[in-house]
Symmetry: C2
């Protein structure tokens, strides 16, 4: 059963996100306004696997939640760009490694109750080093053996939802 949407008004708009209030009615008859953050562009993440090196990770500080954590390369899909092209570009820019052929492993919604964002997931097999990591994005770039990645996931050292879903999906195949 769906909630009925009677209307939507914009509270704030920018190139980066739009905040709206949606007038909704529940099956029980309750009616209220619900905040929604709308992002104009989806994002993508890539799990780069290498038979000897393992999995390519970045250690980032995220000021929004004030924490350091290991993440996979990820970023916003630019206008006119496919999610796959964005995944290849972001991986290369952030880490200095150009990934081998990419394969889609699905997509998901990180916060479908309040945010309309979609995250697209890719796995790449192999990579070639073509440059240096982006100092702004990823001061530390490392290949980690698969077993160490599983330990980091279980031990709570990976706290980014996009990275967690991408890694679980890639390791679940």
């Amino acid at each position: 059963m769906r909630w009925t949407v009677h209307g939507e008004r914009t509270l704030y708009d920018s190139d980066w996100l739009r905040l709206t209030l949606v007038d909704v009615e529940l099956p029980s008859g309750d009616r209220f306004e619900h905040h929604v953050a709308r992002f104009p562009a989806p994002a993508c993440a890539t799990v780069v696997r290498h038979p000897r090196r393992g999995i390519l990770l970045l250690r980032r500080h995220r000021f929004v939640v004030d924490s350091f954590a290991w993440e996979v390369p990820a970023g916003r899909v630019d206008e006119g760009e496919s999610p796959e092209d964005a995944a290849r570009r972001e991986t290369t820019e952030e880490t200095g490694w150009r990934p081998g052929p990419l394969r889609s492993v699905g997509s998901f919604h990180p916060m479908p109750g309040a945010v309309d964002q979609t995250f697209h997931l890719f796995v790449a097999h192999g990579a070639e080093q073509v440059g240096e990591p982006d100092e702004d994005e990823a001061p530390q770039v490392d290949w980690k053996p698969v077993e160490e990645v599983r330990r980091l996931m279980r031990g709570g050292s990976i706290t980014d939802g996009l990275t967690l879903v991408a890694l679980y999906r890639a390791l679940d195949e």
Copy 2:
């Protein structure tokens, strides 16, 4: 290496979320304003397992992304409430099943680049039926065998990030 935060101003405020612009400087010297959505309350999710019945799921329509998907019981932590108490309350309210003893299986950030939200994860073993599902939240509540849940996860029928991380974490133990 951290981004330097020079200041933060509020664009919009409510009980539900606060939208801000943060003045940040990157290691390279680039300086710009970055949108952040701040949620005053964390959220929680519960994977309820039953030795015979399987895992407790809800089928919900999410108007924000206009899609139906299977989810675990989840919701906002109320003021003064612990994440564990919220997980127990939300599970009971949404599904009509009161979960057995809860165990924390970690937490994560669904969108740490733009949103400060934290999701807390719990696993419960066993449940007792004490009421009916909430018609507004969960028109369909079902126990699914673990193997079917794994198939739904692989097949793309589960698209909610909180549900995916909670299930992967619970099934990874």
